[in-house]
Structure formats: structure tokens, C-alpha cells
Amino acid sequence: MNSPSPKGKAKETGPDLSVALAGLRLKNPVMPASGTFGYGEEYSSYMDLGRLGAIVTKGLSLRPKAGNRTPRIAETHGGMLNAIGLQNVGLESFCQDKMPFLRQISTPVIVNFFGNSLEEYAEAARQIDHIDGVAAVELNISCPNVKEGGIVFGTDPTAAAAVVGQVRAVLNKPLIVKLTPNVTDITLIARAVEDAGADAICCINTLTGMAVDIRSRRPQLANGTGGLSGPVLKPVALRMVYQVAQAVNLPVIGVGGIMTAEDALEFLIAGASAVQVGTANFVDPAAMIAVIDGLDRFCRQERVPALAGLIGTLCC
């Protein structure tokens, strides 16, 4: 970090916000959570995307996916439920229509993807590995294994290891595995995923929840249940990030309810090497920029020369 910052004014060098993650060096630890930032373009008029530590895409699958019927979202106290159903344009269209824009952004692109069988996961990974301009992949294992009775890959250590192993076998790019919080002991899954070859762990996806319309006596979501996100998630996400960071030797990306720089700092201190911001983007399209600026301010105030020095410094 000897070179002067590109847009740098002629004043003293600011704190170093950069972090290392699964072989990547990020200019700061802040990136969007998959599914809350589209394919980047949607928010490009609200911020300089190049300021982000990385960009994470909406979850992609081999073929386009229709997603669920509407209503797909419902608001709850301090959070929201979503049952989008992983609607996405599919890998082919992503390469053609979305990647050209993303390649122009001067920040690493992380592709989030999923499948409904081991084969789908592996084939998707094979294809993504060849996409030029993709810095890393994020494997969403919160999906049911449709072929094998529908158990969610990420809720069972063996199934989680299997899918990670299949993907690892065909993938050269760094592999981030995103865990579901709907489990008894997330450290068991984290360890299985580590052993199967993951380079980093992203923690957490949404908690499964429900809301009922008492007049119509129907679930508020057409799908019945949905994924809970937003500030409500933070205490659970923080606990799991802490547990996982203790349990494995991989870097952890913290996600769940981050709205402010203070929230992000809680995750970094608890052991996260980077953070993702999801629902907050809906509340404020410039939320991530505010988080980055806030991290910078905190480091100056507290005289922290390098943000990475705070990672995992929780004293218990």
C-alpha cells in the first residue's frame, strides 16, 4: 500500500481499510449481499460502484428460474420476509447481458449461484469458472436437493460437504460457501465445508419465517414461508459469525442486518474478514457507501491504522 490513493488529496494517508479474502485483496470489506443489489447496474446511478470492496450478484442458476408467485415480500417488525424464489436470468443471459457492464467496474465481481442437485451445482460451477472477469464464486447451499428428497444441502454436514466437494473439483476460482442459519449447530456445517475445500465462509443467509394476514387468514407471502432479513437478524448472524470464526481456519464474511458502520464493526470484531449489506440497500441505496465512510471515520477517531487489525479481536 505504498502507492498514493488514486483520487487522493494532498493530505496524510487515511487508514488502510483493505482486507484479504480467499486470495483476493479487497480495498475495503464492504460488499452487497446477494439478491439485494441485482446485478449492480440497478444501483449504479446512486453510487460509484468502484468504491465497493466487491460486488456480489443475484443468485444464478444454470437455466433461468421463474421464482415464486406474488406477494413475494412482506414487512415485519425491524425486518422483511422474502420469497422471491431465486428468480434469475440464468447463467447464459448473465454472461451476455450483465457481465459486460460488471467488467467495467474496478472492483472484484463475485458470482453467487445455486442448484437443485449435485449435478446442477457442478455444471454451474464449471461454466462460471470460465467467465472472464469473475473474481470468485459464492455458493448458496440453502437450496433443497430436489433429487434426493428435498433436504436442504446446507442443513446437513454430509450433504453440504458433498456439494462443496463437487464444486471444488471443477472450480479454479476462489470458493466462498454461504451458510444457512436454520441449523442446530452451524459449526458442524462450517467444518464440513472447510474440509471439503471451501476458501471462505459467508454467514448467514435468511432465517425462515412467516407472517399471517388475519383478515384473509392466509400467509402474507404466496409461498407460505419466506426468508427473514434486516436488522432483526443481526444478533443471530453475529453469534453465528463468532462461532464459525472460532471453529474454522477460513476467513468469514459476515452478513445479516448490517445497516451502519457500527454494525459492520461488530461483525469484524466478532471475527468477520468482510461484511455484506443486504436489506439496508432497500432502505437507503447509498447504505454501503455510508458504511465505508463510517469505517474510515471510526479508524481515524480511534486511531486504528489498518482496519484488518480489528478482525477477530473480541475479548470474551
Binding site: 439478491g35 439485494t36 443489489f37 441485482g38 440497478e42 444501483y43 446511478s45 446512486y46 443475484k58 433461468p64 428460474k65 421463474a66 421464482g67 406474488t70 406477494p71 413475494r72 415480500i73 412482506a74 414487512e75 417488525h77 425491524g78 425486518g79 422483511m80 422474502n82 422471491i84 428468480q87 394476514d213 384473509s216 392466509r218 402474507q220 404466496a222 434486516g230 436488522p231 436489506t279 440497500n281 432497500f282 432502505v283 437507503d284 441505496p285 447509498a286
Partner: protein
Amino acid sequence: MTNFKTTILANQEVAPDYYRMKILAPEFDRRVRPGQFIMLRALEFGEPLLRRPFGVFQTGSLPADCDGLPDKEFLEILYKVVGRGTTLLRGLHEGDRVEVLGPLGRGFETVAKSGQQILVGGGIGLVPLYMLAGELVRQFPVRMLIGGRSRKDILMVTEFERLGLETYVSTDDGTLGNAGPVTRVLERELDRFPDAAVYACGPMPMLEAVNGICAARRVALQVSLEAFMACGVGACLGCVVEGAGHSEEDPRYLCTCKEGPVFRAEELDWERLARRVSEGGADHE
């Protein structure tokens, strides 16, 4: 498309549960098209978390105070109090801080060649039609059909009349204007002007009826839809509607926030739309 923090200039009740809010918004006028909307939230409140979508009713400017400052350009929304977010909005005052994302989405197309322009607004659905009427009336004869359940759901009639439109009111219970659905007036007017262009906004059952009428007569129709929204910019995919030709295998979803809220009728899959539950302004007539 910008996001800006600003202040409220006025927030007045216009009828029980209906409010007009003027929001300071310099240069908004230049950027907004009739039919576009904003995502609004009150600052300094944690709850509700998500912004709420509102059509832009009009833009304008308040004369400068004696303080030598320039005129205050504003955007105005007209809203009905239906739940948590709108209850909170109702409680705000001049000077309170809000945050506005917008203008968002695709507005009405006004590419009609000639002829009668018929606007159909149901309940609070007349909001996006006001700016549209103002624009159309400069070139075309415009008829405004306003419908509602009852007298208390009929708003802004004088305002529309002042634009120089022919305005027709109907209520289901006959407490104001014609008794009966607004679609009956539409049919009558289309009998007279079979090649009119129609623009509609209102509760889903009304829109379906309007679509049925227009489709049968091959009359060009644009509708403005509602949906639950989280982001307002096409990122979350929460607000989709099924487009024409949609199927499970070949999904053709359209984002109400980005590809809408205004759609040409033929872009939509009306059969599936009709099956939607509890969305799309059912509660807002």
C-alpha cells in the same frame, strides 16, 4: 433517479384518511414524467423499515418568502392512510425530514396521434392521472372518469375540472355523480368515441374490467399497477407481475417498479394478474 433528503412543506388532510403532502424537491419537475413514482421514508424513524411507493400527484413551486431565497420547488403526493407507514406519514409536519428516491419507473406514454383521451381513476388511483391530464389537455380533448365506492372516496374533482377536462364522477352507492361502476361510464364514452385512447389506475378489479372493455373494442389502454415493493429500482424482484406469454418454463416477469408501474395492456398476462391475492391496491379504493 436520485435519492435526496429533504423537508416537508405541507401535510394537509383533504378528506377523512386522505392527505396531500408537499415535499421540497428542487429540479424534480424537469425530471419526472406523468405516472412515475417515488419511494418515501420519514427520517429519524426506525419503523417501518422499508420505504413506501407513492405516485407523483403534481409538481409546482411556492413563491419565495421575503427572505430573498428562490421559489420553493416541490413535488406533491396524495395518499390514503391504510397501515403503519401511512399512519406515520400522517403524523408528520412542515419542516419534518423525509428521504425521497425518485422519480422511479416508467410513466405513461403520450404518443397518441389524435382523438379523445379517456382517463379512468378509481379511488386513490387518480393520483398518477393528474399530471398526465395536465399534459394531454394541451393537445387533446380529455375526459376524466372518476370512480369510487362512495362520496368520501371521490377526491380532487375540482382540481381536475380546473385543468379544463370533461369530468364524470360515479360512485357504487350513488352518493355522488352517477350510481354504478365507473366502467359503465367508460363504455358509454367509448360508444361515442370508439378510437379513444384509455389510461387507467385503480383497484385491480376495476383495471380488469377496464381491460376487458378495451380489449373487446381494440382500444389502446395503459394501466398503472401497484405491488409490494422493497427496493423500487429493480434489484429485489419483489414487485414482479407476469408479462404476456409468461409460463413456468419461459418466465416473463416484469418489475412493476422498473418496467412499470405503467404498462401497455397487451404487455401483461391478465389471467394471472386476476389471480393475485392481496396486492395491487385492493385495499385502496
